[in-house]
Symmetry: C2
Subunit: 392 residues, 2 copies
């Protein structure tokens, strides 16, 4: 099987990730920070270790400003709902994932005003449009670092400078970039950074992260047992417990730590280059396949290692089903939980097929996929019987 669905969840994971998870559940097991006994302290050490590695990767001074969540969506909900109040205005883009647009949709009903900046057909945002949208009620800018549909990178550093100059908070959704592209929360003036552990950070599912800049006070999304200050009737103030209630996914967090070790030992630049080389090979190769249209920016200079495309006027779901069932290529065809992005690209009806690559993909897999697409086009291969295009 060829796995090109790494933008959803990366697979396979480095062997060290699986071993770290086994070690944690078999040999450490206990609840971190809840009890005073040795095994609990050992579990705590695993969690703290992952926090420290993350802090180092993103240039975060204090690891305790890093909060573990269920997934990036959980982190984004905490950031968005914890930050914005009735009467606040927030600026975002037309390329956001439902994990941003849906919490905002709920907040609009509670009196938050949202401006969605329209991006161009390649998924690019114009900084001047952001600046023009700022008004006296504007509280924050919420932007994806890279769209999960077009793959187009957003100028987060420039947006951060603008946010800083205007006194706005910047929340970045780094679901498609964390672990792959350099993110420096200080240089980029990022106040809130949300990302999953199970994509380019190579950890397991069940791991999401929110970095909260010191001084940014969010209303917690959840309250509960924190293993500290149990006598306080409300949620304690101290970090990271304020936003981490209940038992953490220790096993997943231990695995994420090993994913971070893998990235460090291989080198993020090397990993990114390999993946972008694959994306480029695929993009160039599609030039030889009639009817394939690529989306996002030209070339791989301004994108993450994913390529979304259409095949003639065929529904994306049909192509995805053929690739899966006839060629054993796993990809994602549909709306990618980002209908706004598809509206921006003009692909809301047809939808798109998305190939997203990982460090473990090989050139031969790209070549096989290109040959498969060529065969599909040249034979006008029908969708497998009984297959329904995934409309998600």
């Amino acid at each position: 099987m060829i796995y090109f669905d790494n933008a959803a969840t990366s697979w396979p994971k480095p062997a060290g990730v699986i071993e770290a998870m086994r070690h944690c559940i078999e040999e450490v097991g206990a609840n971190p920070g809840r009890s005073g006994h040795k095994m609990s302290l050992e579990a705590n050490k695993l969690v703290t270790g992952t926090r420290e590695r993350l802090a180092s990767l993103f240039n975060i001074d204090d690891p305790e400003q890093i909060v573990f969540t269920l997934n990036a969506t959980d982190a984004l909900n905490l950031a968005i709902k914890g930050l914005l109040n009735e009467g606040d205005h927030v600026i975002t883009s037309s390329m956001e994932h439902n994990s941003v647009t849906r919490p905002l949709y709920v907040l609009v009903q509670k009196g938050v005003k949202v401006t969605k900046i329209n991006c161009d057909m390649e998924g690019r945002i114009n900084l001047k449009d952001i600046e023009a949208a700022i008004n006296s009620a504007t509280r924050a800018i919420i932007i994806t670092h890279a769209s999960n549909v077009s793959g187009t990178l957003m100028p987060v550093g420039e947006i951060g400078s603008l946010a800083k100059r205007k006194g706005l908070r910047l929340l970045v959704d780094a679901a498609q970039t964390a672990g792959l592209f350099a993110i420096d929360v200080k240089d980029m003036n990022i106040d809130l950074l949300a990302f999953p552990g199970h994509k380019s950070l190579m950890g397991p599912p069940g791991t999401g992260v929110l970095y909260i800049k010191d001084g940014v006070n969010l209303v917690p999304l959840k309250e509960g047992g924190t293993g500290s200050h149990s006598e306080v009737p409300g949620q304690p103030e101290m970090m990271p417990e304020r936003y981490e209630s209940g038992t953490l996914n220790t096993v997943g967090i231990a695995g994420l730590g090993a994913g971070l070790d893998f990235i460090k030992s291989e080198g993020m630049d090397k990993i990114r280059k390999h993946e972008l080389d694959l994306a480029e090979r695929f993009m160039v190769g599609t030039g030889g396949v009639k009817g394939i249209k690529l989306y996002g920016v030209k070339g791989v200079g301004g994108r993450v290692p994913m390529v979304s495309f259409s095949v003639g006027d065929r529904p994306a779901g049909e192509i995805g089903a053929i690739l899966d069932q006839r060629f054993d290529i796993a990809c994602r065809a549909g709306l990618h939980c980002a209908p706004d992005a598809h509206r921006t690209l003009g692909t809301f009806e047809q939808k798109l097929v998305r190939f997203s690559f990982s460090y473990f993909n090989k050139q031969e897999e790209i070549d096989f996929a290109l040959a498969s697409l060529r065969e599909i086009v040249e034979t006008n291969m029908p969708a497998p019987e009984g297959s329904e295009g995934c409309g998600c």
Copy 2:
């Protein structure tokens, strides 16, 4: 090492749990319900399989009424905040965990009225007190199935009958009972059942569950990508996606499925009997240790397999530290994230030492713990230097 902290997280896990997690991350990997490809469908099958096993265990007709969360706290927050509105009145007990009291504390500030029924010194609630507290604004009763401090079982079936008769919703926190005591959501008239996967259900951390009775409409705690109905601007109505945004902890859920298989194959009655036998052996044995005072109901007839105790007037943290460092016994000494329960038992200042047993504990471990406690008492053993009693 002797592990008596199973009420926090059970350990060790059955071998099948670890194998199921390895299988999931190594061989299935992908995101369930997000893509149409085979590996994604396989992941979906794992998640669905665990949902079905849970439905079977708790007599839930439709597995899709089961929602996976990060932990029981996450599930309780969704239930509590999703159900209650300004002006609503809710009845709860004085034995609840912070995962119930803290969300309620926040809601009080938003105009929800809360009545906490005082339980007696053994942690028992009087049904008549609940009935007397009901008024025209009462919307729900929220009760733990068993306190995580006293271990005392609550009469959930009788409370369910009362709730049904009065037209109230019943939310049960089954953190200490799910997997160990029979829970039938229909027989017991439970509308909302929250529990963790990593305690007596023997799954890994990072797994929480909320059962939502058909017809109970909660406001979602989080919105985001659901892999279905991506075009809807708000959260889709369909279950379970309405309350499951973002990537699930597939690996953890697969492990939980294996935990449920283990319980089924061993037999819940046999598991419970083994654990309660251990609790009884310990309780009887403490009769021979001067100065040990047990809390909760007499005997093991009305309790879960945990025993909280004090040693003379020594702070619980000291005893916990000695047990850990001198005798390699892992337990939990402190407030157990349940200060209200400690106030009820009169142990808020001294706190308590808690032993909580699992199917994998052995009689000899109980005997060793009793001998250790005897030695601590008889020699008036001091706390290890540099140890600080855990105050949580």
